[in-house]
């Protein structure tokens, strides 16, 4: 009946020496171990970035506090942003991608396993280099986007910004290599029969995401080269007092920075696209449109960058052009939300923790996306840009979007990675603590922005309502931290004592559930011939495969 096939061999490498213990982890080129290493490092940085946030929220809990000096506060928000973006969200998503993509396409490993290892280590060590700045005279303090001329030598002469630049360059090279690796992997190592139009949506999103990485990372690398040249070699590319252009830095930076935010969300869209169908017991609604809209988003993400610059004075004409592109990019994003909702409609919802986070994602990311549309309307941006309304917007999309999706992904795939189920009881506590904490922290910030509170301020005047809302936000932040700690606790207790998972605890449909939990080093003995988008569904229901169902015109 089903003729299983051995997956394509990875390019011939000498047989690896088998190491034990720590050495095995440090020398591994196995994508599964590297995926877990990504999780460990990104989670560690998540805790550090979280502590930076909590210190800031304590400083802002009431007006006029002196918990930290203004300069320390500036280092904190710079490091918090840089850490969360480059050392947490992107690497954590890379962790999911590294672990899952080869499994989902029925391969033994990535196309370039050693390059894969280089990607992880460059990213982790780049992060350590960045943090070394605290010991070397001060962390970077010019904001995570290091606007010139503030980031130039004349205004920030200590080495912090240099550590920012070089640390990010190192991290960027690792990430770039990872993007390259995923593209070649997905193109060349798919199981026989698996067409590009049949890959799991997580793989598709990871694939498109890798193109974004490939095209966006060089932009920040080049920008950093020029900034470092200004700072070390005394050129003036971005220095108006030397004839340079401060606006050029912004164009360059956001030329990277905008695709970067899509790099932070596309794999999360992929996670949602895997969880929602399985926990609704229905195939994804509108696969082609979810996939196609991803392609649209990827293209458009390179056309909207200057919507970060509406207040800079580019002129109404260019403001309007970028506004149009920005509004355009909202459309494919909305399509996805509708498709996920349509997937759930008529289903048999299993409200496990993974699905709870997916649902929270849908609501929260929608809010974040809608405030994004508000920002695309130029005059509204003229009031709200650079205020706490922006802070709310990007936390709703990055935390409420990417992080919620990743929390869901942990509950979904932890059984596969460890062989144990995470506790649903602790999971529900974590869910509610996280979601309520999140909304308390960030929802009020929309109002603070509308009331006139700028961002990146170490304190604020005692204007009506400001103190109350800031206090609520601080309280929420601690609640959120408690929720995150509960996840750590859940992993800790479940790793050794959790219920055993078996190969396929969720009755899933993609290839990773075909093999054992955790998978053996070579992933699969054999993979079945691929004839549809849900290979395991086809395998389990040979009389009602997707091809049959689709043909029946449903």
């Amino acid at each position: 009946m089903s003729q299983a096939v051995a997956p394509e061999a990875v390019a011939a490498l000498p047989v690896a020496e088998s190491h034990e213990g720590l050495l095995a982890w440090v020398t591994t080129v196995d994508h599964k171990k590297l995926g877990i290493l990504y999780f460990i490092s990104s989670f560690s940085f998540f805790v550090i970035g979280g502590i930076e946030a909590l210190v800031m929220r304590v400083q802002l809990a009431a007006p006029g506090l002196h918990i930290v000096s203004p300069d320390m506060f500036n280092q904190l928000f710079t490091m918090h942003g840089t850490t969360m973006i480059f050392l947490v969200v992107v690497p954590m998503l890379l962790g999911f991608m590294t672990y899952l993509v080869p499994l989902m396409i029925g391969a033994r490993d990535m196309a370039f396993p050693r390059l894969n290892a280089m990607s992880f280590w460059t990213q982790a060590l780049g992060g350590i280099l960045l943090y070394f700045s605290f010991a070397a005279g001060g962390a970077p303090n010019a904001g995570w986007f290091a606007y010139a001329p503030l980031s130039e030598h004349a205004y920030t002469s200590l080495l912090g910004v240099d550590y920012w630049a070089i640390g990010l360059a190192a991290i960027g090279i690792g990430t770039l290599a990872a993007g390259l690796n995923f593209i070649v992997t997905v193109i060349t190592l798919r199981a026989p029969g698996m067409r590009m139009s049949q890959v799991p949506l997580f793989v598709w999103m990871s694939f498109i995401n890798s193109w974004l990485i490939l095209l966006a990372m060089p932009i920040i690398n080049a920008s950093i080269v020029l900034l470092v040249a200004d700072r070390f070699l005394y050129s003036n590319i971005f220095n108006p007092s030397g004839g340079g252009s401060a606006m050029l830095w912004q164009h360059f930076f956001w030329g990277f920075g905008h695709p970067e935010v899509y790099i932070m969300i596309l794999p999360a869209f992929g996670i949602i696209s895997e969880i929602v169908p399985v926990f609704s017991r229905k195939p994804i609604y509108g696969y082609e449109f979810v996939a196609g809209s991803t392609l649209a988003i990827a293209f458009l993400s390179f056309t909207v960058w200057a919507h970060h610059m509406f207040a800079v004075g580019m002129g109404h004409y260019w403001d309007a052009v970028f506004a149009a592109c920005t509004m355009l990019i909202a459309v494919p994003t909305g399509i996805k939300i509708f498709n996920w909702i349509a997937t759930m409609w008529g289903g048999q919802l299993r409200l496990k923790t993974a699905m709870l986070f997916a649902i929270a994602f849908l609501v929260t990311f929608t809010i974040g996306g809608l405030t994004g549309v508000a920002f695309g309307v130029v005059p509204i941006d003229w009031q709200l840009t650079d205020t706490y309304f922006v802070v709310a917007h990007f936390h709703f999309t990055v935390f409420g979007g990417a992080a919620f999706a990743m929390f869901g992904g942990f509950y979904y795939w932890f059984p596969k990675m460890s062989g144990r189920m995470l506790s649903e009881r602790i999971g529900r506590w974590q869910f509610w603590l996280t979601v309520i904490g999140f909304y308390l922290t960030f929802f009020v910030q929309h109002f603070l922005g509308m009331m006139g509170m700028p961002r990146r301020v170490f304190t604020y005047p005692d204007l009506p309502g400001w103190a109350t809302l800031n206090l609520i936000s601080t309280f929420g932040a601690f609640m959120l931290a408690a929720g995150v700690l509960l996840l750590v606790w859940n992993i800790y207790v479940s790793r050794l004592n959790g219920e055993r998972a078996g190969d396929d605890p969720w009755d899933g449909w993609t290839l990773e559930w075909l093999t054992t939990s955790p998978p053996p080093e070579e992933n699969f003995d054999r993979v079945p011939p691929i004839r549809g988008r849900r290979p395991l569904w086809d395998l389990k229901h040979p009389d009602r495969t997707d091809a049959v169902l689709d043909k029946a015109g449903l």
């Binding site: 370039f112 060089p218 080049a222 920008s223 070699l233 003036n236 590319i237 340079g244 050029l248």
Partner: protein
């Protein structure tokens, strides 16, 4: 397409964007120059054109090396590769000589926008040439050691390095046109 070739092709895609940004910086300050030396009054176009011919020829010799490898296996391959390295190396030497001359005339990195963007753009290209020459040298050395005998498998290395080298040359076509020829616009 082999994995190695696809990998290098993807790398090239990313490098295109990297150079694009440096090109934009150059073009922007060419359009809005400040005071100080410009391309038109600092650069020796005919001399650089001559050195560029050497670089472009190295693409041809690289191609010949590949053809040799495909047909006869090993013989002649090393010669073509070494020729490629010599031509590419000559180009680099020419560029270093040009840099020294510019510096002696006060056209330095931090002198003005032209200086900064010129040295950054051509400098990064030069680094890419150097990396390419190193890669070609490694392939040549392996050929001489007799390690590239299994054509089926080892042609990937050739294709990858070759593709990269042609890319480096193509970038120079763009830079030469933009910096040296356009200087007179």
């Amino acid at each position: 397409m082999s994995k190695a070739k696809l990998g290098v092709a993807m790398f090239i895609v990313s490098e295109v964007n990297f150079f694009l940004l440096l090109i934009v910086a150059y073009a922007f300050y060419h359009a809005y120059p400040g005071a100080g030396p410009t391309a038109a009054d600092s650069l020796d176009v005919p001399r650089t054109a001559a050195f560029s011919v050497l670089l472009f020829s190295s693409s041809a010799t690289m191609w010949m090396a590949g053809r040799c490898y495909q047909r006869e296996g090993q013989r002649g391959v090393a010669v073509w590769l070494i020729l490629t390295i010599l031509l590419g190396g000559a180009f680099l030497l020419g560029q270093i000589y040009e840099y020294i001359e510019l510096y002696s005339h006060g056209v330095t990195f931090s002198r003005n926008m032209f200086g900064t963007t010129f040295f950054t753009l051509t400098g990064f290209h030069g680094i890419h040439v150097f990396v390419g020459l190193t890669a070609i040298a490694i392939v040549a050395w392996l050929v001489l050691l007799g390690e590239m005998k299994e054509k089926e498998r080892h042609v990937q290395a050739f294709e990858a390095v070759s593709l990269y080298w042609h890319f480096v040359d193509a970038v120079w076509v763009v830079i030469f046109t933009l910096v040296y020829l356009w200087a007179f616009l």
